[in-house]
Amino acid sequence: MTFVYRGDFLMLQLATVLVPVISLLVWRAAVAAGADLPVDQSYLDSYFLAVSVVSMATASWTAPFLSTSIRNGELSRSLLRPASPHLDGYANNLGEKVVKLALLVPIIVVVVLVLPETPRVVGDPRHWALAVVAVVVAAVIAHCFEIACASLAFWFSDVNGFLVALELIKGVLSGAVVPLVLMPPALATALSWQPFRFFVSFPIEVATGQVAGGVAFGFAQQLGWLLVVGGLSVLLWRTGLRRYAASGA
């Protein structure tokens, strides 16, 4: 289906790259104006080029679809099947990411070529390989998080407003909008512990070799959040399912 709407998907990927490129240009201007930053321009270049790929790879669209199917009773059909009702969500996310990546990478290459000053990418290949692991764990956490949020539809009739608000907050706290390292120093500790950091910021920190608190500690934190969010999603889904009262349930 993604191939049928390839033009549409290309536009979506262009949109994904646009904001980081705008941010990159603005922060380059800030560096040129002598801004007092804890990182150099090569870090910013690497961050903003990587952020669209990492955000895409770790994003999941499951919550709105799943919550709608809980509300209108479509979930009943998936529950009857001899497989997990989430299988469709996993497959959809994986397949879509492969196609999106194939569209996104050429766009980023074009961006690198047309940028007025060729970006310098930091970090050694081992760091980038480790970052792939962080991205995979982040994608799993993000997907569990979506299932947990969608499960709230078992208790509340409309969770869409909540999901939109959450999406906005996630954008800021994950580092997708502004690198967390540029946020005010007073917030550094709080920002480094909150779960959304491990959705986007952490994999890029690993890639650039600048993880606050060290790589091993960062991975321990990420795995900790995986257990918490994963556990929460299982708990909410199972308790919610017992309350499910759509026709046919």
């Binding site: 949109a15 904001v19 240009l25 104006a33 002598g34 801004a35 007025p116 800021v172 909008v177």
Partner: protein, 268 residues
């Protein structure tokens, strides 16, 4: 203006007043949804202004702009953006559905101009919270400057022209629905491109600056008003924005006529 033209204009204004009243009543009836729309619009502004605040905190002056002026530019952007969200977005987001399902047939047979109807039929008054927040940001950002009356007049003109220009760009993009079977994500692309307007155009390389004035004119909507308020009026900018506004409206009208010719309705 001939009597028939005046009559047509009056009829359209009456219709618009009717849809506005209906929209306010709808919001008053579905209060939870109206609250959600209003709060989401506010949350969007708070989140949107964070990068600007972080930038201002890290750089006292950038490209001739102080940290507070950056907030004013972001405020103008949010103001225009939320006006689009109130008056234009609910219509453009429905357009591809009209074309795909053939619902446009019902619009074409009405005794009003179909393009006007497709652009202004739906209003979302609850999203005006975003407009108020935008105004608040402009006031906070410009608290210490003393604009001249000419500057204020030009700023208002720039905001008006900016709104018309961005609405025109978005509308033309939405008309892609007539040419392609699916173009829903074009909205994402246009809205993301608009976000460049959060920052003054002078922060960008020359090529991008030109794009931000002449192609996706977010600079007219956000940088021009603050420039007029802080640095006084400029005849050159008035010529550019009024000229661009006229061209944009004419192009949009022409595009609609060509697009409707391609429309293969549901019933024919």
């Amino acid at each position: 203006m001939s009597a028939t033209r005046r009559g047509t204009l009056a009829r359209h204004l009456r219709t618009w007043r009717a849809v506005l009243v209906q929209a306010v009543r709808r919001d008053a009836q579905f209060r939870a949804q109206a609250w959600t729309t209003g709060l989401v619009a506010l949350a969007r502004i708070v989140v949107g202004v964070i990068p600007v605040l972080v930038l201002g905190a890290r750089t006292p002056e950038i490209g001739g702009w102080t940290a507070r002026q950056l907030i004013a530019v972001a405020g103008c952007y949010q103001l225009v953006q939320s006006l689009l969200e109130v008056f234009v977005a609910p219509n453009l987001l429905r357009l591809s559905g009209y074309v795909r399902t053939g619902e446009l047939d019902g619009v074409l047979i009405r005794p009003v101009d179909p393009q006007w109807f497709c652009t202004f039929r739906w209003v979302q008054p609850a999203a005006l919270t975003g407009t108020l927040a935008g105004v608040a940001l402009v006031v906070v950002g410009l608290g210490d400057s003393h604009p001249t009356p000419g500057g204020v007049a030009q700023a208002v003109l720039a905001l008006l022209c900016g709104t018309v220009l961005l609405a025109a760009v978005w509308t033309n993009a939405a008309y892609l629905a007539f040419w392609f079977s699916s173009a829903d994500f074009v909205h994402d692309l246009v809205l993301e491109a608009f976000t460049a307007g959060r920052y003054p155009v002078s922060l960008f390389p020359t090529a991008v600056r030109t794009l931000m004035i002449f192609v996706v004119p977010v600079g007219v909507a956000s940088t021009y008003p603050v420039q007029a308020l802080t640095r006084g009026p400029s005849a050159g900018q008035v010529v550019i924005m009024v000229g661009l506004g006229v061209v944009a409206v004419l192009v949009t009208r022409l595009h609609w006529r060509l697009a409707v010719r391609r429309y293969a309705s549901a019933s024919s």
